[in-house]
Amino acid sequence: MRLLTHNMLSSNIRGVVNGFPLRIEAGKVVEKNVEINGDFLKNMFVKIDWKAFVEASQSMGYTELPEEADSSMLDSDEFLNRFHHALLELHLEEGALVCPETGRRFPVSKGIPNMLLHEDEV
């Protein structure tokens, strides 16, 4: 799972009001190179919750993202490269996602988060 997906995911356990962002417990992180596409990054920038994105990247061991970002930064190649790397090249292979409200752990195995809810959570 990439941070692109993490930034979109939220816990939908019944009764949870704010299930975003899920806290990352990183067991194993891998990197895979992907070709950069500025248009996609610009399309995604407006949707990304930056604060959650920075925290998530830090929990994956990447600390090069600025704490704050605004769209004017999209003109900088250096910024785009970092944004790209954190968004699409870091994969959480093993670990867990933790619901911020209830502490419920969603295990991640072979890169796939298990988001199945128990019957009493639906």
Binding site: M8, F40, P113, L116, V122
Partner: protein, 293 residues
């Protein structure tokens, strides 16, 4: 197609390792999944601005449909309830992210972030109650409501589905409309029992149905005649739109007496043109049979 898989077992049981393996080994399945996905993407009618989009693949399974999305240059998140199917997707090294998730529990995604969604032969599974706690109506509602929320305004979702009957089609359509979607059903090859394919095309946001969905083609105006040509080409799509106020789609002309003389004569002529040996047309051709048959 054999018996309906939904009637055999719950999806996470039916799509076990053996069934999942077919998605890498059966060229027929691979071909069908790819062509259905291509068509679904076409119906999604994304803006042609060369900007890669973030799409959902609901019931992504082995990732065959996702590969089609990747080939078209978009990013995707796939979710599926079957671990065996997702394992195949891992084996294929698909480019999308995968989630083990039950769409009937609702999608846990932030509002307005997804640019579009496709789903191939998956949603009809929600019409079954596989556990005592399952209520198809509620599961469809949870699914469509959460989907509506996570799509950005104006985004579309296209579902290829095999509803079991009219009631099931209506159950699905109503759940979608109640969640706020506009849209309707597109039928490709409506007169061919083999090639007939149904797509539910939904749009989210203010755009009205008519302006947002200008898809599908009917090659000839006689689209509703009874022919069942083997060599129908790709252009022969028939579109039926519907909304809450209309029946989801036209009743099939159901001729109790079979296909009729006209159809038989046409078919025979066609066979002759192909050089086949065909019996002469007589007054008995295509006549009604007595009740003892």
């Amino acid at each position: 197609m054999g018996s309906r898989p939904e009637l055999v077992a719950p999806p996470e049981i039916f799509y076990d390792d053996t069934e999942a393996r077919k998605y890498t080994s059966s060229s027929r399945i691979i071909e069908i999944q790819a062509s259905l996905s291509e068509r679904a993407l076409e119906l999604l009618a994304l803006p042609e601005d060369d900007v890669p989009k973030l799409l959902l693949d609901i019931g992504c399974g082995s990732g065959l449909s996702g590969e089609t999305i990747s080939e078209n240059g978009h990013h995707w998140i796939g979710l599926d309830i079957s671990p065996s199917m997702l394992n195949i997707a891992l084996e294929r090294e698909v480019e999308g992210d995968l989630l083990l998730s039950d769409m009937g529990q609702g999608l846990g995604l932030r509002p307005g972030v997804i640019d579009g969604a496709i789903s191939i032969s998956a949603v009809q599974w929600l019409c079954n109650a596989d556990r005592s706690s399952h209520n198809p109506r509620l599961r469809l509602k949870a699914f469509f409501t959460s989907l509506y929320k996570c799509l950005s305004s104006g985004a579309k979702a296209v579902f290829q589905l095999y509803p079991q009957n009219v009631a099931q089609r209506e159950l699905i359509l109503n759940a979608a409309m109640n969640a706020g979607f506009g849209g309707g059903i597109v039928v490709d090859f409506p007169h061919s029992s083999k090639k007939r394919k149904e797509f539910l095309v939904l749009a989210c946001g203010q755009q009205s149905m008519n302006s947002s969905l200008t898809i599908g083609k009917t090659e000839d105006e006689k689209g509703f005649s009874d022919h069942d040509d083997e060599d129908e080409d790709e252009e022969n799509h028939t579109v039926c739109f519907s909304d809450r106020h209309r029946r989801p789609f036209k009743k099939q002309k159901n001729n109790k007496n079979g296909k009729g003389r006209e159809w038989i004569l046409r078919k025979k002529e066609q066979m002759r043109r192909r050089g086949n040996d065909v019996p002469l047309d007589t007054k008995y051709t295509g006549r009604k049979r007595k009740g003892r048959f």
